[in-house]
Structures are given as C-alpha cells and as structure tokens.
C-alpha cells in the first residue's frame, strides 16, 4: 500500500515538474486549428477531361490487354485444364446463364468491374463514360477472352459493369475521403482499395502550396502535373 502511494505521489510530482504547455507539446507539428485536422500536402480528386477517339481506343485497348494477362494468372487451373482453342471457336458468339456460385457472380465480378470503372475514372473520364467503357471492356473480356474456357455469361455481362460501377462509385468516394485525410493509415488504405491512384495515368493528385497574391491575400495554389 505504501509503495502504491509513493508511486502515485512520484507520478504527480514529475507531472508538475515537467509540465508542458500545449504549444510546447505540439511545437513540431502543424495543425489546422479551425477544422482540427492535419494539413495535407496533396489534394486527391478526379478531374474530368475530353478524350479523342484515339485516346479512348488506347485506354480500352490497354485494359483489354491486361485481361489477357490477368485471366490466366488468376485462374491457372481453369485455363490450363479446361481451356483450348477448339473450345474458343465453339464458344464464340454464345451467351448462356452460367451456374457459378454467388461468390463469383455477386462478389468477384462486381469487384473486377469496380476496378475497371476506377481505372477509367483515373484516366479522366466522367462517371457515365466510365460506366459505358466498363461495359465495353467487360463484354470484350466475356466474348473474346473467357470463351477460351467457357461461353459468355449473361449474369456476368450484367453484374460486372452495373454492380461494378455502383461499387466503384462507393470505393471512389471512400478512397478520396481517406486520401484527403492526410492520415498515413488513411492514405495507405485509400490507395489499397483504389490501386489506380498509384499509376502514372492518375492525374488527380494535386500539390497544395501556400501563396501570397499580388494584393497581399494569403491563398492555396493547387498544382497538377499532367
């Protein structure tokens, strides 16, 4: 009991002796006092821009090339054991209702669709354009890549772009919120759920720099490199 009392007294005394003001305690940190938030060096967003027909074909073509790489990488057993060029010819042009488990139809395909949607959004397309391009990319995959193993699936043709774009819209909003908190964990998660923000084609990362205008007003300048 005496030891506990001595210990408590020791803690109290040292607290008074080495007491620091709030200014001392946080003197090496910058704080946005009004919003009680961290000041951020970057602002993340989705600037939208016009695209030429050639640029659209290039972006769709890049996504299409990736599907040829990712499909055998993510499903090696299916492609190795069940795929063949004879089957490719037989399946070309067919649409069926597949018997896949809900895990594929309601989870995997919408997640893939969401990442396609976010890829197009990172390239500066509007939400509507991104949805339409996701539909095209998904259809190209179903009709010309996955037919190596099975015919195109009607539920997948619908779920990938539609549920995928809805999920992508949610991920987009959440990732922008996380990235703009300035919180290291928030930025890490924001990039993880939206990997397109890591790549060179994402031009929504703007550097925030303080500046003084000609008439002496303080302001922030957003600098975007593209």
């Amino acid at each position: 009991m005496k030891i506990i009392i001595v210990f408590i007294l020791f803690i109290l005394q040292t607290s008074f002796l080495f007491a620091q003001t709030k200014a001392d305690l946080y003197k090496y940190q910058q704080v946005n006092e009004q919003q009680k938030s961290r000041p951020t060096k970057y602002h993340f967003g989705y600037p939208e821009k016009e695209h030429s027909t050639g640029q659209i074909f290039k972006d769709v073509g890049f996504a299409y090339a990736l599907t040829w790489i990712f499909y055998p990488l993510t499903q090696p057993e299916t492609v190795g054991q069940k795929g063949s060029w004879d089957k490719y010819q037989d399946n070309l042009g067919k649409i069926v209702f597949d018997h896949d488990a809900p895990f594929w139809n309601v989870m995997v395909h919408p997640i893939s669709g969401s990442q396609l949607y976010l890829y197009y959004r990172a390239n500066g397309y509007t939400k509507e354009q991104s949805f339409l391009l996701t539909t095209i990319s998904s259809a190209m995959f179903e009709f010309t890549v996955e037919v190596y193993t099975e015919p195109a699936s009607a539920p997948d043709l619908f779920n990938t772009p539609v549920l995928g774009s809805i999920l992508g819209y949610g991920i987009e909003n959440l990732s922008m919120y996380l990235l703009n908190t300035g919180n290291p964990l928030g930025r890490f998660l924001g990039h993880v759920i939206n990997p397109s923000t890591f790549f060179w084609f994402y031009d929504g990362k703007m550097i925030i720099t303080p500046d003084i205008s000609k008439d002496g007003q303080a302001m922030f300048k957003l600098y975007m490199d593209f």
Binding site: F97, H99, L132, L163, I166
Partner: protein, 234 residues
C-alpha cells in the same frame, strides 16, 4: 463476332459525339420478392425472398423526331438477385426426380422500355410504366427432400432457366439533378416459362458442373412480384 465489333465501335464513337451525361442513369437498391411456381405437379408452390436490384437506363432526353420529343421514354436493363425459400417443389428430369422444400437463388434480367407520366404532388413524384422481355435462372438447393427416381444428394442442385416478360410500374422523384440521388419505388410483375431444367453437381464450390439437363416441354412457369426500392447512383 463482326456484329459485336461494330457494336463496340459505335458505342466508342458515341462517347465522343453525343451529349449523354444526363441521359445515362445507374440505379441500385433492395428488392423484396413474392412468387408462385407451377412445377411438375399440379400444386402451386409459393416462395418469398429478398435481395438487391440494379438497373442501367438510357433516357432519350435529346431525341426529337418530326416534332415529337421522346424525353419521357427510357430504355432500361435491370437485374435482380434474390435469395429465398420455397415451401414445396417437385423437379423431374429423365433420370432424377426429387421433391421437398428448397432454398432458392434467382437472378432475373429484364430489358424494358419505360414511359414517364406527368409529375404528381408538387411536381416531385413522377409515375412510370415499363414493359419488356426477361430471362431468369432459379437455382434450388433442396432441403427436407424425397428422391422418387434416380440418385440425388446434398451436393446436387436443380436449376431452371426461364424466359418471359416483365411489367413495371413505379414512381420516382423528379429532381433537377441526378447528383441529388432521386429515389424510386416500383412493383414489377414477371411471368416466365421454364425452357430448361438442369441437375448440377456443387461438390466443388469453385466449379459447379452440369450433370444432366433437359429442355422442358411441359408447362412449368412462375409468377414473380418484386418490390424494388432504391436511388439513382449517378
């Protein structure tokens, strides 16, 4: 293949030519379902369930032909996924027949043309009606079942592929901007007739195989009433 390539090129060109920002709509929400199935026996079997719905629409906002503006028309592709329970159903293929209760998983795709009427109540709510074809797949996981022919176990599933038509009527908020996420509520009635019944092997959940299937020449059909509620996402 060539038709598909032409379709793709047309869509891609349309992205650069036509004003579409306010005409392409994506909606999502929840669905509650009630329906009846007339199966291989004379009794009507009822099911109920819940799930999600999503639809993509194209509103003809800028289309005027011979002075008539088509902005009240919208073409819609809608998908509903729901999970439910059916109290009693009998399924019969050439080598297998089974009856009992079942957990049902259904996916319905409908493509329909919607017509929007004048707004009601302070010009906020706008009723609409739609009609078009639909296709669905019902997958049954039998529980408390009796095998009357052949062999059937807990890893087997029965799948019905059906086609028919959908009638939609509902109301939607008439807001100036779709970024305000207008809400919609609708009832859909879907009547479909089974085209094919399949026996599936789901012992490997990653790869569900079809063991046997049969094209239906008997009258096996379903009435499904769905209540969908959701909002415009963008």
């Amino acid at each position: 293949m060539i038709k598909y390539l032409i379709f793709t090129i047309l869509i891609t060109f349309s992205l650069t030519v036509h004003p579409y920002e306010k005409t392409v709509l994506l909606r999502g929400g929840a669905t509650a379902t009630f329906g009846g199935v007339k199966s291989f026996d004379d009794s009507d079997n009822y099911f109920w369930g819940g799930g999600i719905n999503a639809n993509a629409g194209y509103r003809f906002s800028n289309l005027t032909i011979k002075g008539y503006n088509f902005n009240r028309f919208e073409i819609n592709a809608s998908g509903n996924s729901y999970w439910g329970k059916i109290n009693h159903i009998k399924s019969e293929l050439e080598h297998v027949a089974v009856d009992g209760t079942a957990a049902v998983r259904t996916f319905v795709i409908a493509v329909y043309l919607k017509y929007h009427f004048d707004t009601l109540y302070k010009k906020i709510w706008q009723p609409y009606v739609g009609l078009g074809p639909s296709w669905s797949q019902h997958t049954l996981k039998m529980k408390d079942y009796q095998v009357t022919k052949g062999s059937f176990n807990g890893n087997n599933r029965i799948a019905y592929l059906t086609e028919g038509a959908t009638l939609v009527f509902g109301i939607e908020e008439n807001l100036p901007y779709k970024e305000m996420h207008p809400v919609f509520m609708e009832f859909t009635y879907t009547f479909t007739a089974a085209q094919k019944v399949s026996l599936l092997d789901a012992s490997n959940h990653k790869e569900i195989e079809s063991i046997e299937y049969e094209n239906i020449d008997k009258h096996v059909y379903s009435h499904i009433i769905m209540f969908n509620m959701g909002m415009t996402i963008f």
